[in-house]
Each structure stands twice: as C-alpha cells, then as structure tokens.
C-alpha cells in the first residue's frame, strides 16, 4: 500500500512531544532570565488576609500562626507568599508564630524565616517564635490544645525553650489572641484548621495553597470559614504587591527615602503599579517575576490547544470528504 503523503496539519497532529517540551522550557525559562514589567491585579481573598494581619499592627495581644504543610516540590508557589507575609509581620511589628507537622517542611520554615528577617532587627521569643516541627500524630491534639492554651499545647519551641516563659507569650493565651491561622499547603491540611480551630474555637483561618488546590477551597471561602486565600503564584504576587504598596511604602522624608507604612485602601491598590525593575531585592519580587513565566506558559498552552484543535477539525473535514 502506498504511503499517504502527510500535509501540514497531519504533521502538526503527529508532532513529537519533545518539541512541545522544548517550547515549554523556553516559555518558562526566558521570562525568568529576562524579567519584564507586568501589572499585578489584587483580588479580594488576598486583600482580606492582608487587612486581617495588618489589623494586628503593634498589638501585643494579637498574633498570627503560620503553619507550613508542604515540602520543597511546591516551594515555587508557596515560599514567596510565606516570605511576603513574614515581611509584612516584621515590618508592622506583628507577632508571628511558625509551626510545621511534616519533617520536609521544617527546613523550608527555617529558610523562610531566615530570608524574611534579613532586613529586619527582630528577635526570636520577642517578635516571633518558631515552634518547630511537631510530629503529624499530634497535629490534632495541638490544634485542639491551642484552643485552651497555646503554650501548653506546643510546650517547647524550636530552640528547646519553654514556650510559656517567652516574652511574646505574655498576652497570648489561645485562639482569642492568636487570632489568625494561615496554613500553607499543597494538600487538604487546611481543612483540619477549618474543622477544629474554626468550628470549635472560632479562630480565623486563611489558606495559602497551590493553584491546583485553590478550586477545592472556594466553598469555604464563600461561607467565611476561610477569611482569605492566596491561590498559587498569583496569590503570592498579589501579597508581594500589597506589602510593597502599603506595609513598606516609601516616601521622601527630608530628602531621604524612608519607609512610611500606610493603611490599606482599595483605591490606592487599584491604581498603583510598582515596576519590577524598581525593586532592588530579588527575593521581594520572586512571585511577580514568576508570574511573567506563568503568563507566557498559559498563553503557550492556549496556543497549543488552538493549534491542536485546528488540526483536528481540518483532518476531520478531510476524512469526511
């Protein structure tokens, strides 16, 4: 049987996967290597987390608990949001606790704290406490125990100190004071906080999740069981922008550029655009640079879908004829 000659669309349909992989690699690598200025639009779930954390500014009877429930594989999406929230807390003198229940999250938690505190003079035990790694088996007892007494539930911090003796704990008793829990996860770990800390003790719970997990959390967002959500790299980019526009807002004071934090305003965030090239520290714009790569990757996938479908319909018409 004579071999039928392949037309352009046939060739496109039978395209080797390796070419697709090559295009994907280039679409992601190039925007990361050559960053361009793109605009970040902030959504309400991200704004809500920012506003809640910011309302704790300077208060010794309020604290944020950050629970790291992921490993290095999802770091690209979750690490920038963790650093951005820690920066927000350190900048605005907000007390923050960190904890993790999976061993792989422990180095990430240390790394996030280390990265965020580089530009701040914060002290462990006074401005923040790292509760460290606690085995998964006692996740639930700790979540429930914190409803009565945080210090009693975790007992010791990462440095082996008795938590109840730390200065930061003076006015912190339970979820009434540690009023916001943010779980960073690529899994359903946040539901434990919703089901126990929220339902039983009324704690405010927020989530920082990977983009693929975000869709699962919308029911909780709508009911208010989650006060806010940072969804994937987009959520991280939004929070980075919120921190830049409000918490670390800079003004010229006596000819010197000085950080003058300002209150959240919808009008301000709507109109503000910070050029990536104006941000000196690359750590502070990681998510926004990543969003450039994500933009190109999304467009490329849409083009792939379009080309694939055009080829499919042309071939189908040809076969019918």
């Amino acid at each position: 049987m004579a071999e039928q000659k392949m037309n352009f669309f046939d060739k496109m349909q039978a395209l080797d996967r390796r070419y697709i992989y090559l295009v994907v690699a280039l679409a992601i690598i190039l925007p990361l290597v050559i960053p361009f200025n793109s605009r970040t639009y902030v959504t309400e779930p991200s704004e809500n987390i920012y506003k809640k954390i910011d309302s704790f500014t300077g208060r010794k009877d309020r604290a944020v608990l950050m629970c790291f429930s992921h490993d290095a594989s999802t770091m690209a999406e979750l690490f920038p949001m963790e650093v951005a929230i820690l920066r927000h807390c350190f900048q605005r003198n907000i007390q923050v606790f960190t904890i993790c229940f999976i061993p792989a999250a422990k180095p990430l938690m240390d790394y996030a704290l280390q990265t965020a505190k580089e530009d701040y003079t914060v002290q462990s035990g006074v401005d923040y406490v790292n509760f460290g790694y606690k085995p998964w088996g006692i996740f639930l007892p700790i979540v429930l125990g914190m409803g009565d007494d945080v210090a009693k539930a975790v007992e010791t911090d990462d440095e082996g100190r008795i938590v109840s003796n730390l200065e930061i704990m003076k006015e912190i008793k339970n979820y009434n004071e540690m009023n916001l829990v943010i779980d960073f996860a690529a899994s359903a770990a946040v539901y434990i906080w919703i089901e126990y800390a929220r339902a039983r003790f009324g704690a405010n719970v927020a989530a920082g999740v990977t983009a693929v997990m975000a869709a699962d959390n919308f029911p909780y967002l709508q009911t208010g069981q989650l006060i806010g959500m940072l969804a994937g790299l987009k959520g991280a980019a939004e929070y980075e922008k919120l921190v830049d526009v409000f918490a670390t807002h800079k003004e010229m004071v006596n000819g010197v550029e000085t950080v003058v934090p300002r209150e959240f305003s919808k009008e301000v965030i709507k109109d503000s655009w910070i050029k990536l090239s104006d941000i000196k520290n690359p750590v502070y714009k990681t998510a926004r640079i990543g969003m450039n790569a994500q933009t190109v990757a999304h467009i490329m996938i849409i083009v792939f879908i379009a080309v694939g479908n055009i080829g499919y319909f042309v071939n189908r018409k040809k076969n019918k004829n």
Binding site: S38, Y41, D71, P219, I301, I305
Partner: protein, 207 residues
C-alpha cells in the same frame, strides 16, 4: 482476642471522644488533658516506627535484589547521611543539613513538580479536543480561567477575570460543594459503622 481487643479499644475510645466533644464536664476535660500528654509522649515512637519500617522494607529489597534495589540503597544512604549531618551539626542556616536541603532536596522537589507543566502542555496539544459540546464547554472554561489567572487576561478585557471568577465561584463551587456533602455524609456513615463495630476492614483480614 487478637481482633476483639483492638475492636474494643476503637469502640470505647471512639464513643469517649464523641461524648467529650458534646459534654463540657470537668471529668471529660481532665480525660482529654491526660490523653494529650500520652499522645505527645507516644509521638516520637511513631517517627521511630516509620524509620524502622522504612529500613525493614528497603533492606528486604536489597537482600532479595529485586528490580530497582539500587533505589533502596540510595534511599537508606540519604536517610543516614541527612540524619547524621542533622544530629551532628544541627539544622539551622549555614549547616551541612541546610546545604543538602537547598542543593539536593529543593531542586529535586521542584523538578518533580515542574514536570506537571510539560505534561499539561503536551496533553493540551495532543488530547484537549472540542469533540463534543461538553468538551467544548470545558475547553472554553479552561481558556478563560487560564487567561483570568494571569495579568494579560485583565489587559485584554475586564470581563476575562470576572468570568474566570464566576466560573470558580459558581459552577466550580456548586460541584465542589456537592462532592463535599457526599464525602461528609459518607464519612459520617463510615464513622458510625466503625463505632458500632459493623465496619471492621481496618483490622485487616478482609471481613
């Protein structure tokens, strides 16, 4: 006895914890405090059990030289080396443990997750076809959500992120809530069956 004792422990403790949730009596609170102390004391042994299990499974694979036994060697070596450097030099910034984390685990983890992008792109090109009305709806929704998630969506038109948000907040939410309710009812039914001793498959043995 081998089956009756675990069954009794589950039933008795299950009912006690269910009662504890609804009865705020001092005896109930004291029991819970006692339980918390015990579970904390037991937790290090859970980690130990996990390590022992990992060693036993992988050692058996190496001894029997079953296909892929080399990976078991790497697993055990990684566990020993990482554990040793952590115990000797600590796990803080600047230690060999942190170096291993940043230069081995981080890139490897990121690589595994990054593969998803390649598979999605390839699948989108090869398999995502508007073959039926349902597939076309899915395809259009996917394109709108993908555009709505990146800044260019807003730059093209305001309605792209708005429609994307509607898709996530209405049809997606309805489906997720339906699944959630189904799962919740299923969990309640299964929990009741376990508490009443009807469901015993967790004991093993298949009955």
């Amino acid at each position: 006895m081998k089956r009756q004792i675990p069954l009794l422990i589950v039933i008795i403790l299950g009912f006690i914890f269910a009662i504890h949730t609804f009865v705020p009596h001092k005896a109930s609170a004291d029991f819970y405090d006692w339980y918390q102390t015990w579970i904390k004391a037991l937790s290090p042994f859970m980690v130990l059990l996990g390590i022992m299990s990992l060693f036993m499974v992988n050692t058996a694979k190496i001894q029997r030289k079953i296909p892929g036994w080399q990976y078991s060697v790497i697993t055990l070596l990684s566990l020993i080396v990482t554990g040793a450097v952590g115990f000797i030099w600590g796990t803080q910034e600047g230690t060999p443990f942190m170096w291993l984390f940043k230069n081995v685990q981080m890139p490897m983890g990121a690589t595994m997750f990054s593969l998803l992008a390649f598979y999605i792109a390839s699948a989108a090109y090869k398999a995502f076809r508007a073959r039926s009305i349902e597939a076309t709806v899915l395809l259009v929704a996917a394109i709108i959500v993908m555009l709505g998630q990146v800044p260019i969506g807003m730059a093209i038109s305001k309605w792209i992120p708005e429609t994307s948000s509607w898709i996530l907040n209405v049809p997606n939410l309805a489906a997720k809530r339906g699944i959630g309710l189904g799962v919740g009812l299923g969990m309640t039914a299964t929990s009741l069956k376990i508490l009443l001793g009807i469901e015993r498959t967790y004991l093993g043995g298949g009955d």
